[in-house]
């Protein structure tokens, strides 16, 4: 297997604030990597950097992102526009806001064919309706003429997925696309994503804070904290033997919920994630139960802890 996405030592900065620091990861073609982290962990900034969708003021200050062998951080102007969508597609969390409220759903899919492939309007509309049917929308012809606010959250997310299918993106970034949906609809969308992967070989970079979703979709997992990747590896490895205290604490919050007696208090991680200023050394040290001398001063290096499984923690360096 060849890696479709190679992120190498990427740092993202907004007007002096570093949101992502030296993040590296790879995703094999046709696989799904989940990026897990709390709000402010830098997971969305990293995803936006990969998609070249950072808002004004945000930029990749170092490192490189290669998608299918193309260095997307170096793309400019018309090359960048042509690469958009083809290489990287983007599934947003809030499908209501991500669809243009004044345009019919079908048109927003069809315009991809019209503008990119030069398809005639009627043919483009026809293909859009076909795709809407493929993503499981009943009476796709009628739905194509409807406006986003007339559709349910699940249907809107299906429209977004149809859009990604129209783009035939090699890599699809899913930025918490199921967070706003209720559980049954969420399960349907996850199943649809899995079907897409099986049928079209789509590669996913799935951004989420929901461990249940991670367990469902991910082949590999990267855990982010304070702008850095704390741990990454195959999903089974990371869940089975988490190496970083943050990952352990994160899993504790979920497992505590499932195994604890009813009405027991939720397990939580003491303290709050860094906001604005990221602590020096290991960003997690102020909240870490195992912090010792080097943690506040030295940034821990990534250490291999198993096949494809790596973590950045001083505890691993001293040979626990």
């Amino acid at each position: 297997m060849t890696p479709l996405l190679e992120v190498e030592a990427v740092s993202v900065r907004y007007d002096g604030f570093e949101a992502v620091t030296g993040a590296s990861l790879t995703v094999e073609e046709g696989r799904t990597m989940a990026i897990v982290g709390e709000s402010g962990s830098g997971k969305t900034s990293l995803a936006l950097a990969v998609a070249r969708l950072l808002p004004p003021g945000g930029e990749v200050v170092s490192g490189s992102v290669r998608v299918d062998g193309v260095d997307v951080t170096a793309l400019r102007g018309a090359d960048l526009r042509r690469a958009r969508g083809r290489l990287v597609g983007y599934l947003a969390q809030d499908s209501m806001a991500a669809l243009n409220p004044v345009l019919p759903a079908g048109l927003q899919v069809a315009e991809v064919f019209e503008t990119r492939d030069g398809t005639r309007r009627r043919e483009a509309r026809h293909r859009a309706v076909e795709l809407l049917g493929q993503v499981g929308i009943q009476r796709a012809g009628e739905v194509a003429a409807m406006y986003p606010h007339e559709l349910s959250g699940g249907m809107r997310q299906r429209v977004m997925i149809a859009m990604a299918l129209a783009l035939r993106s090699r890599l699809l970034i899913a930025d918490e696309p199921t967070t706003a949906l209720d559980v049954t609809v969420q399960a349907e969308i996850l199943a649809l994503a899995a079907a897409l992967q099986a049928d079209h070989g789509v590669t996913f970079l799935w951004i989420t804070h929901d461990m249940g979703v991670v367990a469902e979709v991910a082949d590999t997992v990267a855990v982010m904290y304070g702008g850095r990747i704390a741990e990454q590896g195959p999903a089974g490895e990371v869940f089975g033997s988490p190496a970083h205290p943050y990952t352990q604490a994160l899993l504790e919050t979920v497992r505590g919920g499932a195994e604890a007696p009813p009405k027991a208090p939720f397990a939580t991680i003491a303290g709050a994630p860094p906001a604005g200023v990221i602590p020096p050394g290991c960003p997690f040290h102020p909240r870490c139960a195992h912090a010792f001398e080097p943690c506040p001063e030295v940034v821990p290096a990534m250490v291999d802890t198993g096949p494809g499984h790596r973590a950045a923690c001083h505890l691993l360096g001293v040979g626990r």
């Binding site: 690469a83 958009r84 969508g85 806001a97 991500a98 669809l99 243009n100 991809v112 990119r116």
Partner: protein, 307 residues
């Protein structure tokens, strides 16, 4: 939609009824005796009495109101004291000139204001020059700008006629005067809508799709500016169609505004009251039209207004 229209239509009728009532009350504050204005200063008491009787001026106020309202409801706005012709005919004569000026002014403000707004909205930072220009335009009284344009372009530079007619050349300065006052509003609204559209998550979707810039601008930015512009334009058309007194009087533009000014100077009650009521009807009608068009253009409005 049908229910919404009926409700709006009803509210419009209430507004017009309010204006009719108000003009009726306000006429009593006008100086002078209507009968004497019609019959002339040398009329005999008998003639005056006849005129008063014809105009129902000696009836109780309540019965005068009933007569007046029923006349207005039947489209009879009375006869001008001075011109001795039905008010409705006088207004009809003036309507074409006023309409031409109104659409000229609208064209200026939509194109110039909208264009500047789009330019400003696409900039990284708002233009200070435009902001300063807007403040200047908002601060100048109508007649000052009108006279200024007249002096510069018609008198000093002698590029355009001084006015008095309704030719295309004579339209330029009054339309510009009228339109320039709308420019700050359109510029602000379009600039804001453009910024909102550009910063929205759906713009991120559009960019992520790799759409060409012209498609993004036309389909995803301009479409979203349309709705507030239609609302503004609907209000403006209504106000302009009901007569713009200052602009028309400065440029001697033979429209309804000029007629209103003359009616005021001549204390011509029926003409004054008639033009005010017609203005109310036009404003109500165009507000309604603008709302309907807005609903057709912006699907979100359908939901908001269905309830």
């Amino acid at each position: 939609m049908a229910r919404y229209l009926i409700v709006r239509l009803g509210l419009g009728l209430v507004t017009i009824a309010g204006v009719v009532l108000l003009t009726f009350v306000l006429q009593f504050s006008l100086p002078g005796d209507p009968a004497r204005r019609i019959a002339g200063p040398r009329a005999s008491p008998e003639v005056l009495a006849t005129v008063r009787a014809n105009l129902h001026l000696d009836d109780p106020v309540a019965s005068q109101l009933v007569t007046y309202v029923s006349d207005v409801a039947q489209g009879d706005l009375g006869v001008s004291y001075i011109r001795r012709r039905p008010v409705i005919d006088l207004v009809k004569e003036r309507l074409p000139a006023t309409a031409v000026l109104a659409f000229g002014g609208l064209l200026v403000e939509v194109l110039l204001g909208g264009g500047l707004g789009l330019w400003d909205g696409l900039r990284r930072r708002r233009s200070r020059v435009l902001a300063a220009g807007n403040v200047v335009l908002l601060s100048i009284p109508t007649y000052s700008l009108g006279f200024l344009l007249l002096v510069v372009f018609a008198y000093r530079l002698d590029l355009l006629p001084l006015g008095g007619g309704t030719s295309l050349e004579e339209l330029i300065l009054p339309a510009l005067t009228l339109g320039l006052f709308g420019v700050p509003y359109y510029a602000a609204v379009v600039s804001e809508s453009t910024r909102t559209a550009l910063a929205s998550p759906y713009m991120r979707t559009a960019v992520a799709k790799g759409l060409p810039r012209r498609v993004i601008l036309r389909r995803h930015v301009l479409r979203n500016c349309l709705s507030p512009v239609i609302t503004l334009a609907g209000l403006d058309v209504a106000i302009y169609l009901s007569g713009v007194v200052f602009v028309e009087s400065v440029f001697a533009w033979p429209g309804i505004g000029q007629l209103q000014e003359q009616a005021y100077n001549e204390l011509d009650r029926p003409l004054l009251m008639g033009t005010v009521i017609i203005a109310a009807v036009v404003v109500v009608a165009f507000n309604l039209i603008a709302d309907v068009v807005r609903v057709l253009v912006d699907p979100r409005a359908r939901v908001e207004e269905a309830g």
